[in-house]
Symmetry: C2
Subunit: 182 residues, 2 copies
DNA sequence: CGCAACATGTAAGCGGTTACATGATTAC
DNA sequence: GTAATCATGTAACCGCTTACATGTTGCG
């Protein structure tokens, strides 16, 4: 499933511009699917070219036209076909974990910094999620609530795991870490 | 951090061939960093070209030469520099969660299938992790143990979350799911 | 005065995936 | 016989990231 298909899915919730979709990628989708303007705008153009969405231009003063996209019947069919994949992937790519694999080559200060930064990022996510909960969540489709809860649970678990196990990495007796010279 | 750097890190544990490294990507790294032969072999060639690893050819009968790589002093320095990044990323890309966002467009059977397949994949990971625990884990550096525990905790939590919350997606009263015709 | 938000796009480049190519040995 | 394991690679392709390009409005 690529950016095109996710955009199509977002448009089932109502018409939107590329700018609007970007905000959705940055908010409710941010913890599991990244996309920038460089992917979104070309994706919408391709969807329009293939007749899966229709575009309405809305003129504005001093700004480029707002281009609002609406999913078509063909688009809905295409989306439903994409959703038939029984094994959608769930991939993690973690430089963080790769770094921790080699923590015995790092100083305790370096390790602490990396862990603190990761904890901060997870706290930021949790605060973002809390904002969602504050607003009209009861209108959300069940899937969206499931996905939000999933993200919350994962972030909390990661935070707890790091807090409970950071001692493994820094409280060992080897204050003198191995260096390149070693 | 790219495949090259991770290969370099793996080689701090002792010399290895591309084939060996692939096995490591498929085992202890599988839950957070994917790499196929098409990335690994070119990566090792590039590392050798840049003097970060050295290559020994070992002749074999009826098979291509086994090419065993060893990290160099320059390689160690390069790796340590890479490990200085205080904010290594941790990215999730989940077609699974994207699919669940649109579960209100799917039949209950489809949703169940997707959930079952995801549960199976997590169970497979947990069995893989259990195998690691059975073998000489006490020799592992602390970082590797931390990362294994991290993976176990995440997989267990995901499994529990899905089992506890699948009802959100399929037990609702809307047995008649929305279709493209709707 | 400067920054954030609004709003859309292109183009180069990069990194990784997939498919292809080869071929012996061993175990079932 | 047939599949898996051992063992290395190339090349085309694809999708996404990054940097660039442009310009207004409104807030502090």
């Amino acid at each position: 499933m690529d950016v095109k298909t996710v955009c199509l899915g977002m448009l089932t919730d109502g018409e939107a511009s590329g700018y609007d979709l970007k905000k959705e990628f940055e908010s409710s989708f941010s913890h599991f699917f990244a996309a920038g303007y460089g992917s979104i705008y070309p994706a919408l153009n391709a969807l329009a070219r293939d007749g899966l969405v229709e575009c309405r231009h809305i003129a504005q003063e001093g700004k480029p036209d707002r281009k609002v996209y609406e999913i078509t019947e063909a688009g809905r069919e295409h989306l439903l076909a994409a959703l038939e994949n029984p094994c959608p992937s769930h991939k993690v790519r973690s430089e963080f974990l790769a770094t921790m694999c080699f923590s015995h080559l790092m100083s305790h200060e370096q390790i602490e910094t990396v862990l603190e930064n990761r904890l901060t990022e997870m706290t930021n996510y949790l605060e973002l999620f809390k904002e969602f909960e504050a607003s009209r969540m009861e209108d959300w489709p069940p899937g969206a609530r499931f996905v939000l809860g999933f993200g919350q649970t994962m972030m909390k678990t990661m935070r707890e795991y790091i807090e409970a196990n950071r001692g493994m990495l820094v409280e060992e007796t080897n204050t003198e870490h191995q260096t390149a010279i070693g």
